[in-house]
């Protein structure tokens, strides 16, 4: 199940990598946006303010530009018309080339600051400029001017400069709607107007840039005010995750984040109540187990004190066989019960956190030898322990662990099973392995071997053990800041590995 999930995950990651390679932009965006909410908020704020500044500037620019140009155009048409109105009556009805030239000369002179270049034509005749040079006009403009009944204007570019061309047909004096055939053309540079417009663009730019930059300040403030509750929520969640279930958030206001904060507080309260209930129940259960085993000890103490008497009587042959058998049974089961109660008490001490480690510097080889000798196992168990290997541990507890592991191996492997203890001190760790050549641990039992009252198989159910031996062994390993693990030995059989720090770690007592 987890393997399949992992594969799916890996595939997704692979796909994402491929996409990122193909779409560098998306990767960039993801990097930018993964910077956190604050960056995102500020960036978005800046973008919006830049966009609005840009839009305002563009609109202003467009309006101002057309206003400037229109005004220039209108005033040029008005001026030209005014000049013509005062000069045209002096012209003869059919002006010749010389008279046209003198007209345009006067017009050029009266242009003033506008410095336009004028020319005139009569009845589609050639254009007569004031000087020898022809007046610059856009292509096709003459044709438009020749047929026009009123002023025609056109903007065009001459080189890089913007220019304006005007064509003004002159009407007959007695009949204002009839064309006299005289058309005056004028063109002039719009460079000064363009300069006004470009200075406007400069003004917009120099105004907009600081505004955009300045808008970063309110953006930061806005991000801060939005993110402060988010940050508070995050640190509160972290505290909760670390186990401080009494964590609460100060909620003020009525916005969505305040709602989220209230929801969080509600969740925390529920969690805390649940955890408290569970802890109380667990504590009660543990205390009960401890109390029960403690209460059992007093009657057991009385019974145990006389088991020897029963054994003697049963063995002496003075009693009826059935009575002797019954006495033996009572004595044996009393001892068994005593062992179970002892183990229960021991487990209760671990549960209550009352188990104390009495560390001592000991020789590991001697420790293993003594454990085996104490139980007369020295001939049945092979050992491989380097000379002079010393470790800081609680010898009584490690004896319990070793005796349990070896006892299990001897019991479950059969009478002739090879059992081997190997010890090594490597990298500051003491690694003790107990391997047997027995049938091993069934795979379905393996994850539960250290559970309380787990029995390996039906044959084990009625063994000498209380069903707590391995659980106690694991607790003892944990008390040493170590681990006890079970696995299948390389050649079949079971292998238990006890891994402890060789010396006490600074923070442990």
């Amino acid at each position: 199940m987890s393997g399949r999930l992992l594969r799916g995950d890996a595939r997704r990651r692979f796909l994402a990598g491929g996409l990122r390679r193909r779409l560098p932009l998306r990767g960039l965006r993801r990097r930018l946006f993964s910077r956190g909410l604050r960056t995102r908020l500020v960036v978005v704020f800046l973008l919006v303010s830049a966009l609005s500044a840009l839009a305002a500037a563009a609109l202003t620019f467009r309006q101002a530009r057309s206003a400037i140009l229109d005004r220039a155009q209108d005033s040029a048409v008005r001026d030209l018309r005014g000049q013509l109105a005062s000069l045209a009556p002096d012209l003869p009805a059919r002006p010749d080339r010389r008279e046209l030239r003198s007209l345009v000369l006067q017009l050029d002179r009266s242009g003033g600051s506008r410095a336009w270049h004028t020319s005139a034509s009569y009845r589609d005749g050639p254009l007569v400029p004031a000087t020898g040079r022809p007046v610059p006009l856009p292509a096709g403009f003459r044709k438009a001017g020749a047929t026009a009944r009123t002023a025609v204007v056109q903007r065009f570019h001459r080189g890089d400069d913007p220019w304006l061309a005007l064509a003004l047909p002159v009407m007959t004096a007695d009949e204002p709607s009839r064309r006299s055939g005289l058309v005056v053309y004028a063109s002039f540079s719009l460079a000064s107007e363009e300069q006004d417009v470009s200075s406007l663009v400069d003004a917009a730019r120099t105004g907009a840039l600081p505004v955009v930059l300045l808008s970063a300040v309110p953006a930061l403030f806005a991000a801060r005010s939005v993110l402060r509750p988010v940050r508070r929520l995050r640190s509160a969640s972290e505290k909760m995750a670390a186990g401080a279930l009494d964590t609460r958030i100060d909620v003020s206001g009525n916005d969505e984040l305040a709602d989220l904060g209230r929801t969080f507080n509600g969740m925390a309260a529920t969690l805390q109540a649940d955890a408290d209930t569970r802890r109380a129940m667990e504590a009660r259960a543990r205390r009960f187990a401890a109390d029960v085993s403690h209460e059992l000890r007093t009657p057991l103490a009385a019974m145990t004190a006389v088991t020897g008497v029963l054994d003697e009587e049963a063995a002496a042959g003075r009693l009826e066989p059935e009575t002797a058998e019954a006495l033996g049974l009572v004595a044996d089961e009393t001892r068994r019960l005593t062992r179970m109660v002892d183990d229960l008490m021991e487990i209760s001490r671990f549960d209550a956190g009352a188990a104390v480690l009495h560390r001592d510097e000991v020789d590991v080889g001697e420790l293993v030898r003594k454990t085996l000798a104490l139980r007369h196992w020295q001939d049945r168990v092979g050992t491989d322990v380097p000379e002079g290997l010393r470790a800081s541990l609680d010898p009584r507890r490690i004896d319990v662990v070793l005796a349990n592991l070896v006892g299990n191996a001897l019991r479950h492997g059969g009478p002739s099973v090879p059992v081997h203890i190997r010890a090594r001190g490597e990298g500051g760790r003491l690694v003790l392995t107990v391997t047997d050549g027995g049938p091993g641990i069934p795979p379905d039992v393996l994850p539960h071997v250290f559970d309380r009252f787990t029995k390996g198989d039906a044959a084990r159910a009625r063994s000498e053990g209380s069903g707590l031996g391995l659980a106690i062994a694991a607790e003892n390993a944990r008390l040493h800041d170590g681990t006890l693990t079970a696995a299948e030995a390389p050649g079949g059989g079971a292998q238990f590995t006890l891994d402890l720090p060789l010396h006490r770690t600074p923070e442990s007592p």
Binding site: H294, A301, A305, E361, E366
Partner: protein
Amino acid sequence: MTRVLLIEDDPAVRHGVTLGLRRRGHETEAVSTGEDGLEALASFAPEIVLLDLMLPGMSGLEVCRRVREVSQVPIVILSARGDDMDVVVGLEAGADDYVVKPASGELIEARMRAVLRRVAPSQSATGAVEACTVAGDLRIDRQGLRVSKHGAELSLAPSELKLLLFLSASPGQTFSRQQLLEYVWEHSYYGDARLVDACVMRLRARIEDDQRKPRYIQTVRGFGYRFGPL
């Protein structure tokens, strides 16, 4: 045959232990309170005291202290819990050993015997040690089992005396607590090392001039204890 005084409040345990001890031929006087126990100490003159720590009225600890004020009779604590702090306090108050209930008659007897054995076993085996040694201000008489300092005889509890005799028999040699448990207390290698520590503390209180700078019973950090070198 040993004269045993049993001080135990639970009637069933008292009865059971008495039964077990009598079967093994020990003359046993059983009382249920510390006050009765102290009285019996004078009238019954036991060779060993088995003492329950959890007593109504005068506590087992108090009994232990009172007994030590007047007598160096061996005291073995009967404890309901081996990890009890009371055990340590009891040992520091002068008890020589302890047994965790429930305990079989064999175990109780084995502990009694070990405490009662007058000389540590390994020592009688070596045999080569002089009968009387003088170390600093101490005079240790192995034959008469007497220790005196500046000529004044010290009254030592059995476990204190045994520990001193054992350590001083091999001056300068370090013994681990586990070894001392085996040789002096006749426990297994995995006995309770607090026995050794409590006894060393008591012994130092009696023989050292300055307990914080011991001359005779020195601590070898990470290994154990040794006698001297002076």
